[in-house]
């Protein structure tokens, strides 16, 4: 079967569509994950998506819904306990460790397909049912709409919290809202790349984008493009080479893009300095 044959099949089309939506959500939240220094929160949430997925498997044989519930619960916990910024790191560590232990315990009671467990950790979007793909896509659409609405005040509050508060931006409320948006995004990404590799879509594309642009909009656009290329091309490659999981290609591609962006960034910075100097001279 060639790649084109695969693409005629509904399961491949649905998977590609879900991966595309998930990639857009990851690209959108990535720059905020970096600016708000929430890489560990992403990792913690995705580990807890694992616990949720294990519970989902055990109770209803549905890892996808379980992952969404698990990451939403942890977002609520972090939001609820998030009194001091300083404490957040240790708190996420505590919740992550306890939750992951619980997940392993739950899995030891599960006697279904052995691959189900590794699918949670390393992702397998092709193993996801049509209804679950629909859920995945729906969640992604919710995230995209929510991010469109809160984008501007969230950026203000992330970059310049003191002045944003003085200007009447509800910073704390936005922080909690972003946690939930992040939880939905992470649970979605976990289906494509697995809970262990979520950061390859949620942080790597944005980190690459930051190397190449200095404007918030430029970074957002590049971050989405890089996430899309990594996720979709990764999926297509794994259709071509079915023995390798999609997550391998996705994380490999996103890392490759990051390295390329790093190598290109000195040239970018030089060009930028020259154009700034020219502007200053023109003044």
């Amino acid at each position: 079967m060639t790649l084109l044959d695969y693409l005629q099949l509904p399961f491949a089309q649905n998977a590609l569509m879900a991966a595309t939506l998930v990639a857009i959500t990851c690209g959108l939240i990535g720059p905020f994950v970096i600016t708000r220094n929430m890489g560990f929160a992403v990792h913690g949430t995705s580990e807890l998506a694992f616990t949720g997925a294990a519970a989902g498997l055990l109770i209803a044989n549905d890892a996808v819904t379980g992952a969404f519930v698990g990451s939403l619960v942890v977002a609520g916990l972090i939001g609820l306990l998030d009194g001091q910024e300083r404490e957040r790191g240790s708190m996420i560590g505590v919740i992550l460790a306890a939750g992951l232990g619980l997940g392993v315990l739950l899995l030891s009671f599960y006697h279904g397909f052995v691959t189900a467990a590794t699918n949670i950790l390393f992702g397998d979007i092709f193993g996801v049912s049509a209804e679950q793909l629909l859920l995945l896509s729906g969640m992604a659409v919710i995230v995209i709409i929510a991010m469109t609405v809160i984008y501007r005040p969230l950026l203000f509050a992330s970059v310049d919290p003191e002045v944003a508060t003085a200007r009447g931006v509800p910073s704390r409320l936005l922080g909690v809202a972003f946690l939930f948006v992040l939880a939905l995004t992470v649970a979605g990404a976990a289906q494509v790349v697995g809970t262990l590799l979520v950061l390859s879509l949620a942080i790597t594309p944005a980190a690459a984008a930051q190397r190449l642009s200095t404007s918030p909009l430029g970074v957002a656009v590049l971050s989405i493009v890089f996430a899309l290329v990594s996720a979709d091309a990764g999926l297509l490659l794994s259709l071509q080479f079915p023995t390798v999981k999609p997550s391998v290609f996705v994380s490999g591609l996103s890392f490759f893009i990051y390295v390329a962006a790093r190598l290109a960034s000195p040239a970018f910075a030089n060009r930028r300095r020259r154009s700034l100097a020219a502007e200053a001279a023109a003044e």
Partner: protein, 285 residues
């Protein structure tokens, strides 16, 4: 032909006060920051707020921003109780460091002043861009407005902060130590911008500072907060050995060297280094 007059303009013409505090108090538990503060600030006045750390200077600004409720008394800004996000109020904070790779340019920071608090996508219309450009030009920041904020000097950032605060066309500018860790030339540039705005647009300035000297040439009155008490008046009347000793409840000496004012406490060592750039301002007991 009739001329429409905006409410704010009308108040300015009739000389109504921009800020009015009556018997205002702020208490945290049993600790009283200040009590029975009564103060009226008219349009175009420059008032400096002085006092040791913990005297409640920043809290006063928070009250005027509508972020801190009073424990007693009342506060009005432009005739109304203040609320968060009021366009009457501009806010200039202390300068802070940004990460060098933060993807936010100077002009993005300025643009926050216009629409940062609004929900929805940041659609940059021609009008928005023009207003942002204009505000950047007004503070002479065009040369570095497209550089990432993490690469700018303190003085450059503060000029952009002023552009940001003025974009909303506020009738009162609240400044919280905007001169901290700026060199003297940068301090002067920032003060000139603020003073120019006050003169041309009649904007009231409430300026919290630990160091009176850079602002002394511009201030009309000072509000001195110390030990739960307060004093207000012209600098020469308030910053005196007698008034400050009464405020602090201990011997405090005021010395003048040339144009500079230095306040020294009896407990050995300066109470508050007016005139130095240490940024420390300790209350000694």
């Amino acid at each position: 032909m009739s001329v429409t007059i905006e409410p704010a303009e009308e108040r300015r013409l009739t000389g109504e006060d921009v800020v009015r505090l009556a018997d205002a108090s702020v208490r945290f538990g049993s600790r009283v920051l200040w009590r029975d503060l009564t103060l009226s600030v008219p349009h175009g006045e420059f008032i400096a707020v002085l006092g040791p750390n913990g005297a409640g200077k920043t809290t006063l600004l928070k009250v005027l921003l509508g972020l801190q409720p009073l424990s007693g008394g009342s506060v009005l800004v432009e005739g109304k109780p203040p609320h968060g996000g009021s366009s009457h109020v501009g806010y200039v904070p202390q300068q802070r460091a940004f990460d060098r790779d933060l993807p936010v340019r100077g002009r993005d920071l300025v643009e926050f002043g216009l629409d940062g608090h609004r929900f929805g996508l940041p659609l940059l219309t021609g009008q928005t861009r023009r207003r942002v450009d204009e505000a950047i030009r007004a503070v002479d920041a065009t040369a570095f407005a497209n550089a990432p904020v993490g690469t700018l000097s303190g003085g450059e950032k503060q000029r952009l902060r002023i552009a940001q605060a003025l974009l909303g066309d506020p009738s009162v500018l609240l400044c919280d130590e905007p001169l901290v860790s700026l060199d003297i030339a940068q301090q002067l540039a920032v003060m000139r911008l603020i003073d120019e705005r006050r003169r041309t647009a009649g904007t009231t300035v409430v300026f919290v500072t630990h160091d009176i000297n850079p602002v002394l040439p511009y201030v009309d009155r000072v509000l001195y907060l110390a030990g739960g008490n307060w004093a207000v008046g012209r600098p020469d009347d308030v910053i005196t050995t007698e008034r400050l000793s009464a405020l602090y409840g201990m011997q405090v000496d005021v010395a003048r060297i040339g144009d500079r004012v230095i306040v020294v406490s009896d407990g050995g060592g300066p109470t508050c280094h007016h005139g130095t750039d240490t940024g420390s301002c300790e209350e000694r007991r």
